[in-house]
Symmetry: C3
Subunit: 421 residues, 3 copies
């Protein structure tokens, strides 16, 4: 099974679980992820103060339905967990359609689809259903049941860390709080987990920290508990909507010109893609890029947040995402990691005039190669711009050469003692 198929299988397996910002759905999701990459799980008690927020009560749900007078479940949580509004409080009542209506959410413009709705801090309840289902409902009365608990408990998140040789970290963050929605964000979870597998065992310079946490409150909790670690984050990516068939979209960090921003611009060049400026909306880049932290964290998606009609509806199911798209996202991420790992700032040790490359076998040894000229150009560019102000990525950008060619040239020059870090 290739990586695309593996990721798609993971999406299908995670899809039925009812996740929210707390509860057993998140725990079970992290258990399944932990089958392929070890996770350190954190459980943060209800009531814990985290930055400006407080960890909420934990929500769990076993069943929820609306039964018609004939006893048929016309809306049934066990068939699709989007049917219940996230964080709905327990209900057990008999109601007419008129009484029930304020608690029903539909998408009139997409009458076949069930919307995704939550009410984390509202202490309310509700059901989501298709406009067509609603239209077919008689006056009732209906048996209405939400078998949930909202009580002190914990907020759960998981971390996977791949140690590099240095203390600087790369953060890969994805939200794990959405129930049966495949692109948002099971695809992101699957790609992140697979990236971790690809990096396992490699010699790395950076430490890679994968955070699987509920959106907003999870990122805030992680930040609150890692204030001392934040300064180590040199680069980061929030990963979401990683599996639809649209082209890749990179949203810049708040800084706009962070190395991670330049890396993705380079990696995506030459293929269909979109680069967007930072906005304080979307996924957890909102938290990482809040002005107090202002971390160099961008966001990688395919079609971004709210940019496709299936977004936050029952149509965002496992068929909406493709193995090929997830593999493509994974490849782009992996290439970004390769650039981050190799990007360095060298200093030319022989900066007065060109050093004589031929004498060192760097010119002659190239004579027989078909890519000789490009390698020679790469060496001249590295020598010319290695003045302490330019890193290899700058040199690749300015020369128009592929980053790998520039990095290879730098390695050759370092081997010859002509540049040093």
């Amino acid at each position: 099974m290739n990586d695309g198929a593996r990721m798609h299988a993971l999406v299908r397996r995670l899809y039925p679980l009812c996740r929210s910002i707390t509860g057993d759905g998140v725990r079970r999701t992290l258990e399944i992820v932990a089958e392929s990459i070890p996770l350190e799980i954190s459980e943060v008690p209800t009531g814990t103060e985290v930055l400006d927020w407080t960890v909420p009560k934990e929500w769990n749900i076993r069943d929820a339905y609306i039964k018609d007078p004939a006893g048929n479940r016309v809306v049934d949580f066990t068939r699709l967990n989007l049917h219940v509004v996230g964080y709905s409080v327990p209900v057990s009542a008999t109601m007419t359609l008129d009484e029930l209506r304020p608690h029903l959410h539909t998408l009139p413009a997409q009458p076949d689809l069930v919307p995704y709705r939550t009410g984390y801090y509202a202490e309310t309840w509700g059901f989501c259903l298709s406009e067509n289902t609603l239209a077919a409902l008689g006056p009732g009365p209906y048996e209405v049941r939400v078998d949930s608990t909202l009580a002190d408990g914990h907020l759960t998140y998981g971390e996977h860390v791949i140690r590099g040789s240095g203390a600087d970290e790369v953060l890969i963050s994805c939200h794990v709080c959405h129930p049966s929605l495949a692109n948002d964000n099971l695809a992101g979870i699957a790609v992140a987990a697979r990236l971790a597998r690809r990096l396992a065992g490699k010699e790395l310079r950076y430490t890679y920290r994968f955070v699987f946490a509920p959106g907003t409150i999870g990122a805030i909790t992680w930040l609150a508990r890692n204030r001392d670690r934040v300064s180590r984050i040199r680069h980061g990516v929030v990963l979401a909507c990683a599996g639809d068939r649209g082209a890749l979209t990179y949203k810049r960090s708040r800084r706009g010109d962070a190395e991670i921003d330049r890396v993705f611009a380079h990696v995506l060049r030459g293929r269909e893609h979109t680069i967007r400026d930072f906005t304080p909306y979307g996924y957890d880049e909102r938290q990482y890029c809040s002005p107090g932290f202002d971390l160099p964290v961008g966001s990688l998606t395919r079609t971004p947040y709210a940019g496709y009609p299936e977004y936050h509806t029952s149509a965002d199911d496992p068929d909406f995402v493709s193995a090929e798209a997830m593999e493509d996202t994974l490849d782009a991420l992996e290439r970004a990691v390769e650039v981050l790992e190799r990007n360095r700032r060298y200093r030319n040790l022989s900066p007065y005039g060109e050093p004589q490359l031929g004498r060192r076998g760097l010119y002659g040894s190239l004579g027989g190669r078909s890519d000789a000229e490009s390698r020679q150009m790469a060496m001249l560019w590295v020598l010319n711009l290695s003045d302490g102000d330019h890193d290899l990525l700058d040199i690749a950008e300015r020369s128009g050469l592929p980053f790998a060619a520039v990095a290879d040239a730098a390695d050759a020059l370092r081997g010859a003692g002509l540049v040093k870090e």
Copy 2:
């Protein structure tokens, strides 16, 4: 009567007066303006040294004409004051057409029109007439009369000040030295006076100083007598050509990126307009933006300086300007003032992660509003960029939101104690 009609009536009333850089025409103009807004009048004696200049002699004129052999006034100052060259010295002579010709100015390419000419520092005299009139003149002899005085006196300018809560000032300057020319600059005078009326009684942060002064020497005189005040000028606009039917044109200050420049770029966005870079020519921005002062003063016109065929001719009459155009100029100025008044630089007091807006009623209270999402976005933008480096106008520019929406969001956040100035 609406503001447009009021301004047009003022233009018609001021039109017949013979203004120049000194003299009773300016005094009478300021008296009429003072009927709607109080003016403090300054009279600066001839010979006063002002910066690199000296206040010139005062010029007044009662009559001027060229009479043909039959005694008909073929050129008659009392019909149109453009007919005499400004600052013409007294003349009383009989001359043939050939002798007279060096003193006659026409516009051969616009044969119906009378040009506007002056000779402030030349101690000469002359007449302006249409090419057609000139062509019809016989050989003479002609009785030539200029009944003027050029003698020690004063240079006159007027100021209207609206006090704000702070010491910082906004300068609105317009020239009052042109005789019967409507767009240049009776329309500017009318719009400035009406803006002062609109601002009267408002709670303002800035002090608004309206300067009605002769072009060049008037601005230089004002600057010379207010050297200590100049540092208080935080923003300024030179207002001219405010009534023709062309689109608005904003000319940037010499600095090019002053707040006033950004304000007008924002205010004019989304409508037909032109933004031009500073040039050291045009109106009194030349003086305010001389390198020693380098004040943040731009210039607002409709069709700019010398940009329309009626410019500096008898065709720039009250019919050339429209009430609607003046009202449009006034509205743009007023909107610029609104932005200046509300533009501030806030600091997010809860900069680590997003603050929990829902807890403070800033999220929940928006639920029922149709513009909720835009207001919420505005709050997130203000929070994200209120780091001491960005003012609200920056935030409006970067977010693409209307300035007022951003400023409203900032007010709400300040009310909740989340940001402070």
Copy 3:
């Protein structure tokens, strides 16, 4: 004879000489150049260490040929010196075609043309011939002869200096190491020599240093022997490919915004031309712009390095270059010199408001001139921007006025005591 014809005659006279990076061809070339401009000749011994390089052995050649079995010279150095690979070691042998083939170089895609090849540091030998000639060769045996010497000697370069009033220098550098190739670089040599003639006897502010040296090793040698002089080089141009019929191309210095870069952008404006960013390839700008020196040296060519099919082939002969093209290159260079000479940074001594130009005869004296308005505008621009931050070239760029008009205005203002350097 005009300058174009003179330059073309020089190209034709230099064309037959067999130049290389050392040897009598270079010496004879410099002797001929010295007939029109005096040259100081430097002879640097083999083995001298120059920066990271060592001056190589000196190469000279008297004859070289391949004779067929009938005794005919099928490849003959005396007919075209490109036929022998530069720096070929002596050979005297009889070989079959098969044995000879590894030493033969052709251009299969341009079967009529003979390529230019060198092997300076390879201690090998070879012949260049057309693909058509090669195709007609029988199996042999052939008498093969290279009558050359490769022995301790010297590297030769020449300098011509025109003293200016100050110590700052302008460097004009061109390579003299290519054998019978007209555009690359006899045209450059001819244009440089003619520019020196044009500048002779002028009052100049800069000292102009013309360097005629072999490519790469020559520039490196010059730099090594002039380390203390390098800091005096305020501007420089590497001149090459100066005679083909393509439009002018200016390649920016490594700095990208050096004064010389702005000068050429200004001089070339309004005519067909290309501006390219620096690349660490091409001609001796590679050495002058190495990061340790980072001199403000650009490169002026017509069609650049390797940009035309005749490049480095026997088709780059004297008919390939034209007198008109060389004259055009020369004119552009001369205009660049004019801008460099006149470009200064002035300070407005009357920076508060506009000074009264009329009082000083700067306004009145212009009244009768047809170019009065442009001269007046130029004065206002110089006054407005002479704040210590802008030089006259900045002012020309920003105002859109020709540099000469701005410089004339500055001279007038300086004469009136209104600006000083």
